[in-house]
Subunit: 150 residues, 2 copies
Amino acid sequence: MARHPIPDADTAAADLLAACGLLIRRLRAESNNLELTWSQSAILSRLALAGPTSIADLARAESVKPQSMGASLAMLESDGLVERTPHPSDGRQFLFSLTAVGTEAHRRVRRSKQGWLASAMSELSDDERDDLARAAKVIARLADGDTRAS
Amino acid sequence: MARHPIPDADTAAADLLAACGLLIRRLRAESNNLELTWSQSAILSRLALAGPTSIADLARAESVKPQSMGASLAMLESDGLVERTPHPSDGRQFLFSLTAVGTEAHRRVRRSKQGWLASAMSELSDDERDDLARAAKVIARLADGDTRAS
DNA sequence: TATTGTTATACTCTATAACTATA
DNA sequence: TATAGTTATAGAGTATAACAATA
């Protein structure tokens, strides 16, 4: 029997999904008492990376419907974490960006949230950490729907 | 510059979390019209793997509170996908297991859900697929809170 | 026409709190 | 006392449907 056989595509997909699902739920439980939910964190992270973005673009990027993204943004806005400005040339759109408060909250939560995982990862072997780092890039590419190039 | 530098633990953790979160949301959107939700699938998968399990044990395994697991199980039970039997020796517990209908539903959904990811993964290189397969094992171990052995 | 955003409604998932029954 | 399960309540995330405004 081979040391590390490459499983067939279906099994590999199932394993990956189950593992990621578990990790997400585990982390959600670990960071249950933080000031931001998982989805809110994801939105702030994206705004931090991409700068001012419309509801529709955020919804597409996070794979949710515009109405759902609108609801999440409305909450973040009422909490003063994001703000909207009218789009300069398209009268329909609003561009959302982080406020100073939002930037700080994002930084704080990011630090605590990663704490648990980073600590867990610190007990892995170098090879395993390296695996994870490379896998993260591949997973992100898969999730973006772009499987064609590296 | 090294070919594949090992990022520091915090960055690696952040990348992995963001990637897994995106993948989960993407897959949830792709499989939105299926007969089971993500959480329901996870529960059925676990029952299929582990056999009859109590609410408390399921809750621990999936990192949710017993009340939340109880609510999810009540829905699955009323849909006829799982059934409960009293624990043979502990009068407090119930053991939940898949019904025939539940087993079939799980199989159907599993096939469709994995379809999208398996198809996306089929466009990866062999090395990348191998990375993902190994990473899935490591991630599952991290999520289980057991980082000590393989 | 197509896209952007909004409002209204409903369902699922999850949490906390308070309770009963059993170990 | 501690654990298992239940009931009640609430909030967040998501979806669909119907609508108005703009491109």
